[in-house]
């Protein structure tokens, strides 16, 4: 019996190759999407979950009031962890992590490498699961000046990760550290990525300001005791800082967020958790389901449409004694066989395109055939087969054999309705996807072409280190840089403009109200010429200038700050910042120093040469490469032992929108695919309709109807369906895109033409698909059609 079923299945495929191909292509494309998206989702939801203590690790966050709303701070004062631990028995362990702002230069003899490091406190490797390959957690920090390095950094520096404990590494060509341990490279699924760590305790002893309440640079993690009620605990610690500072700092409210959830639930709007990357996880999950549904609908439609070809088979089988149960099983079997075959193709395609996919999403996903994934793959194949096959199986097996064998086609009213409904569902989904892709694309484009208020093009930055750390020499260094051909300008700032927290601070001014103490100002530190170099527009006063003295006592503000402070004629007025009276010398136009998700906060700009960490160089456009190599050779002579590692400002900016850009790229592919699969289905159905109406067309033609009329006749049925899909799809698309855009503080307006374009595209593509079949049918010699009857 099984042999027969298979024989019939294969001979059917041979005979109706093209509808089989439509099914296979559609299903395998959809399944490829499902596999890729599942792999991605699996990876996303497992970020930071690999820690053994995952369930009990929490990050200390802080809510603080700002004029633009409530801000969430991820870093805090360095001593607060220990202090909280003393007061709160629920805390089992406190871990401090300080991220080094610049890449460090490490060297052994002549070998120099750049690496990224953290300062971590003693219990770090006990709380987080970054396994040590060499060394033990107890002995890592026995000696001062210890460094713990990653396996690959050890490979890079020493050529091996064995027996490196006790070896020395030069840090910034200034200090010598001794390797006390080697840890396994931080996995891709970790949000903490670093190549080496130093002792936080030593750093804190060296820089005692880290223990000040005003300092907010340290990440504080807690390992909580089991069964701690985190909500209750959050209430308990909310005003901890206010209590500890005798109600000095009442605007800083503490709370804990689970570390493993921060990656997916990292967005806060006005202090309230509002999702985060989980949105994209859900979005792609839905897209996967959509695409699979579209492909399954093709399968159902083509199977039921093809049914007439199989009526006879079913009739004969029934008269030969096949039960309905058997027929249902047969058809389900066939569709499961088809979906399994499609799954095999999908797996092959996935393996082929996974590297490409990985480079888009910047992950290292792998398709494994271990228990879990294999079960999932088989499960998806079975599910797809059942989903796609259930309706055709029930439908086909339900016919009365005598009707079929008498040549009477069973009543088709219901079936046609269902098929139409399914096409409408398919096309509505496609239209929603087209609109979404368009909106995402437009928003990304908007952000990238938006005037930021400063120019980031052709500007590189690199870290101050070694000789360039010398504040007295900086002026000479900059002027030598400026002499290099191709260099337009050079200056320095503390910050790389985006993607790095700015310092914050309080400002006091005359006419200040008590509530204003809570306002924190973003603090930009700029050297002479930096404001001009980046074309930050001045609306009043002047920038820092060497023509004046005591410039470090003067400040500039942005418009938002002036508005917040409610100062009239600010230039010349005195404010107090960090305990020093400072004269306002200018006001700059608001510029975007954060992602477009955020609105512009108040900012104070001051001159503080000791705190500058970045050298900025503006290059003449068109000859960047030559100029960069000139700078590089100049730098290696000027600052031996330190490699020249630069980044374009623009790259930092692009990184801000990486998540959106990835979504944009991926959704373009997926939407394209969804439309192609839908068209495949429509193509098959149009062919089938033309076939079924062959006789009708023949009669019409012999009676003198024109080809055009016949084409219109055949196409209009589908045009109507696509029309209904447009009516259903567009409002849904509108709501979805409005919802997505609401996450941006600066965004495009939804334009009518986005929706018109989507509708027209869907219609044109559908009509192009259908008309190929309609033309073929209309051009047929009617005699052939009628003779066959």
């Amino acid at each position: 019996m099984l042999r027969h079923t298979f024989l019939l299945f294969f001979r059917n495929i041979k005979k109706h190759t093209y509808s089989f191909l439509i099914n296979i292509i559609g299903l395998s494309a959809a399944l490829t999407c499902v596999i890729l998206i599942s792999l991605w989702i699996k990876d996303e939801i497992h970020i930071d979950t690999f820690h053994k203590n995952e369930a009990s690790i929490y990050h200390l966050l802080e809510r603080s009031q700002r004029p633009s709303g409530i801000n969430i701070g991820h870093t805090n004062s360095g001593h607060i962890g220990e202090l909280l631990k003393e007061h709160m028995p629920e805390i089992e362990e406190s871990v401090e992590v300080l991220k080094y702002p610049n890449d460090a230069t490490l060297s052994v003899d002549d070998l120099i490498v750049k690496a990224d490091g953290y300062y971590v406190s003693k219990e770090y490797f006990n709380v987080f699961s970054f396994p040590l390959l060499h060394g033990t957690t107890n002995t890592l920090w026995e000696n001062t000046k210890s460094i713990v390095i990653s396996e690959s950094l050890a490979q890079k520096i020493f050529g091996t990760s064995n027996n490196v404990i006790g070896k020395s590494i030069e840090y910034q060509n200034k200090e010598t550290y001794t390797v006390s341990g080697v840890f396994k490279d931080t996995p891709m699924q970790s949000s903490q990525q670093f190549d080496f760590v130093f002792s936080f305790e030593e750093e804190q002893a060296k820089h005692t300001y880290l223990r000040d309440w005003g300092s907010q640079s340290t990440h504080i993690f807690f390992k909580m005791k089991p069964n701690t009620d985190i909500n209750a605990f959050n209430t308990k610690i909310e005003n901890f800082i206010a209590v500890q500072t005798d109600n000095q700092r009442t605007n800083r409210k503490l709370f804990l967020a689970k570390h493993s959830e921060e990656y997916l639930y990292g967005n806060y709007e006005n202090g309230v958790q509002t999702g985060g990357r989980i949105t994209y996880v859900r979005l792609f999950g839905i897209i996967a389901i959509f695409i699979l549904t579209i492909a399954c609908i093709n399968f159902m439609n083509l199977s039921t449409a093809r049914a007439s070809r199989r009526f006879k088979e079913i009739g004969i089988k029934k008269t030969a004694g096949a039960s309905r149960k058997y027929l249902i099983l047969q058809h389900l079997g066939e569709s499961i066989a088809t979906s399994s075959f499609a799954m095999c193709i999908a797996i092959i395609v996935t393996l082929l395109i996974l590297p490409q996919f990985n480079s888009i999403i910047e992950k290292e996903l792998i398709l494994q055939f271990n228990g879990m994934q294999l079960t999932a793959i088989i499960g998806i194949a079975l599910f797809t087969g059942l989903l796609a096959g259930s309706y055709p199986a029930l439908y086909l097996s339900g016919f009365n054999p005598t009707e079929i064998l008498k040549g009477r086609l069973p009543s088709l009213g219901n079936e046609t309705q269902i098929r139409r409904g399914l096409i409408i569902v398919q096309y509505s989904i496609s239209i929603i996807l087209i609109v979404s892709v368009l909106v995402i694309y437009k928003q990304i484009e908007f952000i990238q072409t938006q005037n930021l208020g400063y120019s980031k093009d052709h500007i590189i930055h690199f870290d101050r280190e070694g000789k360039t750390m010398d504040d007295k020499a900086i002026e000479a260094f900059l002027s030598e840089l400026k002499d290099i051909p191709g260099v337009i300008d050079a200056s320095s700032t503390r910050n790389k403009m985006v993607g790095q927290p700015w310092g914050v601070g309080g400002v006091q001014w005359s006419g200040m109200e008590p509530k204003d103490y809570a306002i924190s100002f973003q603090n930009m530190i700029a050297y002479y010429g930096a404001i001009e170099m980046m074309d930050i527009e001045l609306i009043a006063g002047r920038p820092f200038s060497k023509e004046f003295t005591q410039e470090h006592t003067k400040v500039l503000f942005n418009e938002a700050a002036i508005a917040t402070m409610n100062l009239e004629d600010p230039v010349g007025k005195i404010v107090n910042f960090r305990g020093m009276d400072r004269e306002i010398i200018g006001v700059v136009k608001d510029f975007h120093f954060d992602s477009f998700h955020e609105s512009i906060s108040p900012m104070i700009i001051n001159m503080w040469p000791e705190r500058l960490t970045k050298i900025l160089v503006k290059l003449a456009s068109g000859q960047e490469e030559e100029t960069l190599s000139r700078i590089s050779s100049f730098y290696s002579g000027y600052n031996p032992g330190f490699p020249f590692n630069y980044t374009f400002l623009d790259e930092n900016y692009q990184q801000l929108y990486q998540a959106e850009k990835r979504v944009a790229t991926l959704s373009q592919y997926f939407a394209g695919l969804a439309i192609i699969i839908s068209c495949l289905g429509l193509f098959g159905l149009a062919a089938f309709t033309a076939e079924r109406r062959k006789k009708e067309i023949g009669i019409r033609k012999t009676l003198g109807q024109s080809k055009t009329r016949i084409m219109v006749l055949l196409s209009s049925e589908f045009a109507k369906l696509v029309g209904i899909s447009i009516i259903i799809g567009l409002p849904i698309a509108f709501l979805l895109s409005r919802n997505w855009l609401s996450g941006f503080a600066y965004k495009i307006e939804l334009q009518l033409w986005y929706f018109l374009a989507a509708g027209v595209t869907a219609l044109i593509v559908a009509m192009a698909t259908v008309s190929t079949q309609a033309i073929r049918a209309a051009n047929k010699n009617p005699i052939e059609a009628l003779r066959e009857e």
Binding site: L8, K312, G315, I316, K317, G321, S323, T402
Partner: protein, 223 residues
Amino acid sequence: MLLELSEIFKWVTTGGNRTYLLKGINIEVQEGEFISLMGPSGSGKSTLLNVIGMLDHFDEGVYHFLDEPVQNLKEKHRIELYKKYIGFVFQSYHLMDDLTVYENIEMPLLYQKYSSSERKALVADMLDRFNIVGKKNLFPTQLSGGQQQLVGIARALISKPKLILADEPTGNLNSKQSEEIMQLFKKLNEEDGVTIIQATHSEANASYGSRTIHLLDGRMVKG
């Protein structure tokens, strides 16, 4: 007695009017009979055959097949009954185009409990008996009409039914092929004792039978 129909009525309702397809049919069929149903198109021959073959329902009356009351049987039972005792032969053969001669003949056995070796033996036997061994790997479209019908009959006989229902079995055949098929039916009836009920337009074909029943507008009429 093989089967007995008494006062069988079948109708369809269109627009409130009942159109009778079968009206008060009373037939008794003994095992080993060869009955011809005659009548013009639309007289109800095919409907009657379908009712006898349990492929179609009737609205009124009593039908006993081997003393089982067919109208009271569940679908599953009916299928059991007809797949065991009844074979169908159709005017347009109704062979599966995608299956070979061999596979077509084998098909009814798949829905009953036969082992694969039993099936092989039965099909080989049948091919041999009908002299079509050489054609067993051909597809129906590669055969002449007469040969196709031969395969159709072989398929109907494979599960050793007591009753063959043939709906105008020679309707698509030329006279020479017709005669061969009718001879085959006669032989089956006389030598193997298979009961045959055929619907036919042709007096010549009807004359092969032992008894003729005339139908007109769903009623039995005297020839």
